[in-house]
């Protein structure tokens, strides 16, 4: 056991889906610990269960069996409202297709997580503006998502993930929908944020991106393996 308590600790996590008469066994005993300040990549074939694992860590989905501790707290014992509170305070999601609300401006999209906290509207806007500045979108606060490029949308989505000061940012193929130069900028942003102490987990299909992360995880046959399996 390491001296510092891990941020995320998964033990023997299984997840299966019932599809028709058969069970699809996606996760088959995942052992995984993630510590504060880490920058980790997660690779695996399509359908191997990367998003499933990410959704479990993000408390959007429950394992079929196993244990999940977040900062030592038994997550699986938490009531739905407590889970929502955790998602709101501790987790920042970034999705491949951004998932911004089309009718809201960049500022309001970024402020959205604070809507579900006791934060005044003024404070919400102030913090959203500040974070947008930090991801280089300070001059686009009043734009709606359809008035922004893909890379800009992803920056807004990252700002939204960061606005609540989460313990960990979970990014599911954040560069998958972007061309490589824009993907590069987004990766630079993640490195920068990690440099400031934010814990980041990035799912990717791109070995180059995986390799630039200090910790590289691979999911295969329903379990998470260490960095030695990363394809060269």
């Amino acid at each position: 056991m390491s001296a510092a308590q891990p941020l995320v600790s998964l033990q023997d996590v299984h997840r299966s889906y019932r599809v028709g008469p058969t069970d699809v066994h996606v996760l088959r005993g995942v052992q995984l610990e993630i510590h504060r300040g880490e920058l980790a990549s997660l690779m695996g074939a399509s359908g191997s269960g990367k998003s499933t694992l990410m959704n479990i860590i993000g408390m959007l989905e429950r394992p079929s069996s196993g244990d999940f501790f977040f900062e030592g707290r038994d997550v699986l014992q938490l009531a739905p409202d407590a889970l929502a509170h955790y998602r709101n305070q501790q987790i920042g999601f970034v999705f491949q297709t951004f998932h911004l609300l089309p009718r809201l401006t960049a500022l309001d999209n970024v402020g959205l997580p604070l809507l579900y906290q006791d934060v005044s509207k003024r404070e919400m806007r102030r913090r959203a503006r500040e974070i947008l500045g930090r991801v280089g979108m300070g001059d686009r606060v009043d734009h709606r998502p359809n008035e922004l490029s893909g890379g800009q949308r992803q920056r807004v989505a990252i700002a939204r993930a960061l606005v609540g000061n989460p313990s960990v940012v979970l990014a599911d193929e954040p560069t998958g929908a972007l061309d490589s130069s824009v993907g590069r900028e987004i990766m630079d942003l993640f490195h920068e944020l990690n440099g400031e102490g934010v814990t980041v987990v990035i799912i990717t299909h791109d070995p180059a991106i995986a390799r630039e992360c200090p910790r590289q995880l691979v999911i295969r046959d329903g379990v998470v393996a260490g960095p030695e399996q990363v394809p060269a």
Partner: protein
């Protein structure tokens, strides 16, 4: 933020929203119109009796009895004189008769009602004199007239000089002396068929010059406040039957008239209430439908909100607020429409518009309640979405 977003979503789907609103608009409008019309009618009824009070009855002969029958009975002064002493429930008894005549005014004339009155009629009608005096027993058959306010002002307009007490004016072939002039009389005389403003009151015996027969137009009587009007009517009919067999009389009481009017307005209220409830239910189902469609269309949005930490209650509240806002919008439009209908009703029935104080409040709360009742299920559906499935849907 919540309200702002809700209104943005409503605006974004305005065509569909407007259609669903129609039911709410009609429902609320009916409720508001119903309440206002009720209060207008109520007021109109009260207005009818304001001048004379409600404790007045009118006895009249239903049809003329056979003239060729020498023993025939009719509603005449003799009967009227005997009525008061016989029935202590009657405080005041005023027989009256009527005719019509041409009042000459310079080169012109006007048609006037003539009412043959006794001294008691003034107190029964509660008419007030602007000048002069009321008719007196002592006038006998003399043409001493008390002129209604409209008759007097018409006369003044025709001759360019005001009518004054002591003036002598031409009435058909006769000359009448103006004994008194009345103040304007409030609209509506309850059970009384007399409209004092358009009438010249003459001593009841003097009226015989214009109306030769002895049959009275009616007998007005003020009733003891504690008397039961229905019972009194039966008592009078029995009394008349004993004294003057075969005389067909009818007793109209203010209470009975009031009851009839109230029943009419109640029918109207029930009808509008039924239309209103049906429209509100139809509207509510419409709201439920568009909210369910909206929930399905916005599954991804719901997934995103859940992922960034919205609780189920937050999602539920968001959709409930939207439904209520939609209904409130319909409620406000309906309130305006319903008030308009009530104003039009007041206009066409010739009654003053009296706003029912609770109408708008009730209309707004009814539409809010509709929003909550029919928006709750879709909101619940939204809050129960599985975030993963919601996120995966496009």
């Amino acid at each position: 933020m919540l309200l702002g977003e809700a209104s943005r979503n409503i605006v974004a789907t305005k065509q569909r929203s407007l259609l669903a609103l129609l039911g709410i608009v009609i429902g609320t409008a009916s409720v508001i119109a119903m309440l206002n019309v009720g209060s207008i009618m109520h007021n109109a009824v009260l207005e009818q009796f304001r001048a004379m009070g409600t404790n007045v009855i009118n006895i009249r002969q239903r049809y003329a009895t056979d003239e060729d029958d020498p023993a025939r009975n009719q509603l005449d002064l003799g009967l009227a004189r005997a009525l008061g002493p016989a029935l202590p429930q009657l405080i005041q008894v005023a027989p009256f008769d009527s005719a019509s005549a041409q009042l000459r005014a310079g080169a012109e004339t006007q048609n006037v009602r003539l009412t043959g009155a006794t001294e008691a009629l003034q107190g029964l009608l509660r008419v007030r004199l602007a000048a002069g005096r009321w008719v007196s027993e002592l006038d006998g058959v003399e043409l001493q007239g008390v002129v209604g306010s409209e008759v007097a002002s018409n006369y003044a307009a025709q001759t360019n000089q005001p009518l004054e007490v002591g003036d002598r004016v031409g009435l058909d072939g006769y000359t009448m002396t103006v004994a008194g002039i009345l103040e304007p009389y409030p609209r509506g005389g309850g059970v009384s068929p007399i409209s004092p403003n358009r009438t010249i009151f003459l001593p009841i015996k003097a009226l015989q010059r214009f109306d030769a027969d002895n049959q009275l137009e009616g007998i007005l009587a003020r009733v003891h406040p504690q008397a039961d009007h229905q019972e009194l009517a039966r008592t009078i009919e029995t009394w008349v039957e004993e004294r003057a067999p075969g005389l067909p009389v009818e007793v109209n009481s203010a209470e009975q008239l009031l009851a009839n009017m109230e029943q009419q307005s109640r029918m109207f209220t029930i009808m509008l209430g039924a239309i209103g409830s049906i429209a509100l239910i139809v509207g509510g189902v419409g709201i439920m439908n568009i909210m369910l469609v909206s929930v399905t269309e916005r599954r991804k949005e719901i997934g995103i909100r859940l992922a960034i930490g919205a609780r189920n209650a937050d999602i539920r509240r968001q959709f409930l607020v939207e439904a209520v806002m939609l209904c409130l919008l319909g409620g406000v439009i309906g309130a305006a429409l319903g008030t308009g209908v009530a104003i039009a009703f007041a206009h066409f029935t010739g009654n003053p518009f009296v706003a029912a104080p609770m109408a708008v409040l009730l209309g707004v709360s009814v539409s809010t309640l509709t929003g909550i009742a029919f928006g709750y299920y879709p909101a619940l559906q939204a809050s129960r979405l599985d975030p993963i499935i919601a996120l995966r849907s496009e």
